[in-house]
């Protein structure tokens, strides 16, 4: 007989994985993905409790969480794109402090010789 603890354990495991990812990785996209994982873990718990109590409010909260997760991801990815997409004619006048994203936040700066030397590196896909 399967009980609510199984679902709680799954939720905790997923949450732990997500938390570790969010803390360990430096890449913003991966941090966002880890946060999605954590939110999903919360949803698992909520829906398991909702099933345990035989009512629908847990699922309701999980819907709210999903909506907010979607909004959060859209906004965060928008910020990432806005940070990464510099105007093509980025002169010195535009590269003031505050205008540019903090470089290490986005990624390590790509050195041109590394790109030229190793095309296989660029096509990690």
């Amino acid at each position: 007989m399967i009980s609510v603890e199984h679902y709680l354990a799954l939720g905790f495991v997923l949450f732990a994985i997500g938390a570790c990812g969010a803390l360990l990785r430096r890449n913003p996209t991966l941090i966002l993905m880890s946060i999605e994982l954590m939110l999903t873990a919360v949803n698992v718990n909520l829906i398991a409790f909702s099933r345990m109590l035989g009512e629908v409010h847990g699922q309701l909260f999980s819907l709210f969480i999903m909506a907010d997760a979607a909004a959060e991801t859209a906004l965060a990815l928008g910020i990432l794109v806005a940070c990464a997409a510099r105007p093509p004619s980025a002169g010195t006048a535009e590269t003031e402090a505050g205008e540019m994203p903090p470089e290490e936040f986005i990624a390590e700066p790509v050195s041109s010789e590394a790109e030229a030397a190793d095309p296989a590196e660029r096509t990690v896909l």
Partner: protein, 166 residues
């Protein structure tokens, strides 16, 4: 028994691909693994008789959010597809978090007998209808409040894109 097997199957997929996602160096692979995790979680939702949550999970998370991730990873490829390094400095924090979580699981497991399905036989016949009734009659205020962050997001995204075109 079949229930148990189904749960084990989905849970194993979810946990394994979640773990793989967090440790991948290639972001594209991480994205596809995130998709696998979310779909397996959707299977768990279906097992918990939350069909609407499954549908929302497939549409919103798997279809929408993962698609966003994929597009962003593709668009920002030169910078973002470089293998993302681990930050070993905060490994200790993560280890601490892991320990705490394992402790929570242990504590919950110690009370293994206490929690059973209280009403195993009363999942509503029509999940979507029950959810809709709750959402638009009993908890309308919460629903309206949930719309506020969405509005804030829209405004934020509009502002972001405005700044870029100026």
């Amino acid at each position: 028994m079949a229930d148990h097997l189904l749960f084990d199957f989905f849970a194993a997929i979810a946990a394994a691909s979640g773990l793989a996602m967090v440790t991948r160096r290639n972001l594209m692979h991480a994205t596809i693994l995130l998709l696998a995790t979310l779909l397996a979680t959707g299977g768990i939702f279906l097992q918990l008789q939350a069909e609407y949550a499954l549908a929302a999970q497939v549409l919103l998370f798997a279809g929408g959010i993962v698609l966003l991730f994929v597009l962003v990873v593709m668009l920002l490829s030169p910078q973002f597809l470089r293998p993302a390094p681990f930050d070993w400095k905060s490994f200790s924090i993560a280890a601490l978090a892991l320990v705490v979580v394992i402790e929570i699981i242990a504590v919950v497991w110690a009370h293994h007998d206490g929690m059973i399905w209280r009403s195993a036989a009363t999942p509503s016949a029509n999940n979507a209808r029950a959810l809709g009734t709750a959402l638009f009659q009993d908890d309308l205020l919460a629903f309206e409040f949930a719309a506020v962050p969405l509005l804030a997001t829209i405004i934020g995204v509009v502002m972001l894109s405005k700044r870029r075109t100026e």
